[in-house]
């Protein structure tokens, strides 16, 4: 059998970032709901970044002459009990609420995935210890545990973030561990080990990398949940403190005026609803995109 050494033509293989992004865009366009979710996320991020430019008033400017005004041309969402502009406060509030999610989800996701992949790949005592620890955290209702942790750490936005992170980590650990158990039985991990790859190398290059799609989906879905959680902590006074604008805290204060000044609670509430829903829509769409077999479920 003669070696067939054809002319050495190095052709660009389809692939590369540009190609992948193009394909992603093509798939996204087929799902209007995912696209809507993406639009909401982009909008919220834009608002976060541009709040100072967009806000018509200083969010913390007390103006007792204009307290509890209904929505109007100059105060689009009305004013609160000390005359601050609610529209401006909601714009600025996005920075608090969304930054919680932007901190919690990556930190919990990365730590949880590494722990979980390690746990599943190594097995033995380390696996037992890590999994029992996650069981302990998960056996307590997450809202109650987050509240307890946040209260113990002292009420502040950063402590609320830490509390939510600790409670979210086990979900990623379990997910990544399940993937690791699956992947470590696959041929390419066995082959890698047969070729002398160390455990850490297998975790880093084979397990983590191939476990990524479900973790990304979980993370996008978590963004909405985390925003809700942050708002809930703000609502009961364990999140951002006055006078910082934060959606959950605004809803909580607005509750006192809900019968006569409906707009006070309604607009921050809507902001939470729309942001959380946008993230969930996008997360759902991403799951269908990354795992076509599950489509339509």
């Amino acid at each position: 059998m003669a070696p067939t050494l054809a002319a050495q033509t190095v052709q660009p293989v389809p692939g590369g970032l540009r190609h992948s992004l193009g394909f992603l865009w093509h798939r996204l366009r087929q799902s209007p709901l995912t696209l809507a979710g993406l639009a909401v996320i982009v909008l919220v991020l834009a608002v976060m970044a541009l709040a100072p430019a967009l806000a018509p008033h200083d969010p913390n400017l007390v103006d007792l002459e204009h307290r509890l005004l209904p929505p109007s041309a100059s105060y689009w969402f009305g004013t609160d009990e000390v005359g601050r502009d609610l529209f401006s406060r909601i714009l600025y509030g996005s920075r608090q609420s969304v930054s919680v999610a932007l901190f919690v989800v990556p930190v919990a996701g990365v730590l949880g995935s590494i722990l979980g992949s390690f746990s599943g790949s190594v097995g033995g005592l380390a696996d037992t210890v890590i999994m029992r620890a996650t069981d302990i955290v998960m056996s307590v209702p997450s809202l109650v545990l987050t509240m307890a942790l946040a209260a113990a750490l002292g009420p502040s936005l950063f402590n609320a973030m830490l509390a939510i992170t600790v409670v979210r980590i086990p979900f990623y650990v379990r997910l990544a561990r399940g993937q690791a158990l699956l992947i470590r039985e696959l041929n390419y991990t066995k082959a890698a080990r047969a070729f002398g790859a160390s455990r850490w190398h297998v975790v880093r290059w084979h397990v983590l990398r191939n476990a990524l799609p479900p973790i990304i989906v979980q993370a996008t879905l978590d963004v909405g949940g985390t925003i809700l959680m942050a708002a809930a902590l703000g609502f009961i006074g364990l999140g951002a403190q006055q006078p910082t604008a934060e959606w959950g805290a605004m809803v909580a204060t607005g509750r006192n005026y809900i019968l006569d000044q409906w707009w006070y609670s309604a607009f921050p509430g809507c902001a939470i609803l729309i942001t959380a829903m946008g993230c969930n829509l996008f997360g759902d769409g991403l799951r269908d995109l990354l795992d076509p077999r599950q489509k339509g479920r």
Binding site: L5, N187, Y188, A191, R193, A194, F195, G196
Partner: protein, 326 residues
Amino acid sequence: MSSVLSIEDLRLEFPIYQGAVQALNGVTLRVEPREIVGVVGESGSGKSVTAMAVMRLLVPGSYRVTGSATLLGQDVLAATEPAMLALRGSQVAMIFQEPMTALNPTRRVGQQMVEVLRRHRPLTRSGAQAEAVALLRDMHVADPERIQHSYPFELSGGMRQRVMLALAFSCQPRLLIADEPTTALDVTVQRQVLLLMRDKAREKGAAVLLITHDMAVVSQFCDRVYVMYAGAVVEDGPTAEVLAAPRHPYTRGLLDALPDRVASRGDLAAIPGSVPDLTRLPEGCAFAGRCPLVHGACASRPPSLPVGPGGQRHAACWAVRDGEAS
């Protein structure tokens, strides 16, 4: 020169709820330098478990093992993990069945080759890339530069197995364990890959332990053969002799079942019955329930393979031994 691989009475079981799966029940096997040794047997006969145990790739803590296995002078059952890491990939290489799944689907072939090369040899990134291209060309792969930039799913099965072979031979191993390397390939590609493997092994002085269930492959490529049944070696000897005059009734049954042994319109011969449950092995010979030569001694004691120098023929069967004695 001492044996590359020497396994003595290896017994291995996987504990399960109430009992254990007795995967290996006394495997004795030897591979000499530069030899191509075949291991045949049906699914579940312990071929792959033997290979995985020798490489110590089974999940730690999931099994119990007795006996001995010596790989290049290293006792693999007692060796530390760093010692095994030093063996795997450089001194001993292993390739797997289904080359479709033996490469990480999310990374380019070149990256994966460079990694293995740099792990075992002092090469720079660009040096390793050049070496990978040279290795692929050595495996008769056309256009290796393009293959380097491809993802595994863009390659055919035969191409992927060539990539695996290139990696396997990249560090001049003394032993290559090939676990059904061609099962998922079609017959022509299978032949090309096996020929390539044999030639490269001879060229580089590596011994090969070829695990397969294909008697035709054994007859064409192996110097010696071990026949396994229910986790034990039932017969061994030089390939030509074993195939020409099988002694163990199981080997005979396997050979009689080959399509080219019957007239064109005749029915294929089959071995009656099925493989015993590995959680409840019979007290005596595991093959007794299906054996045409079964008699008194078979039910009470398991026949062990007589231990002797390599190159000789052995069969673990009471009937054969009685026949020789009389």
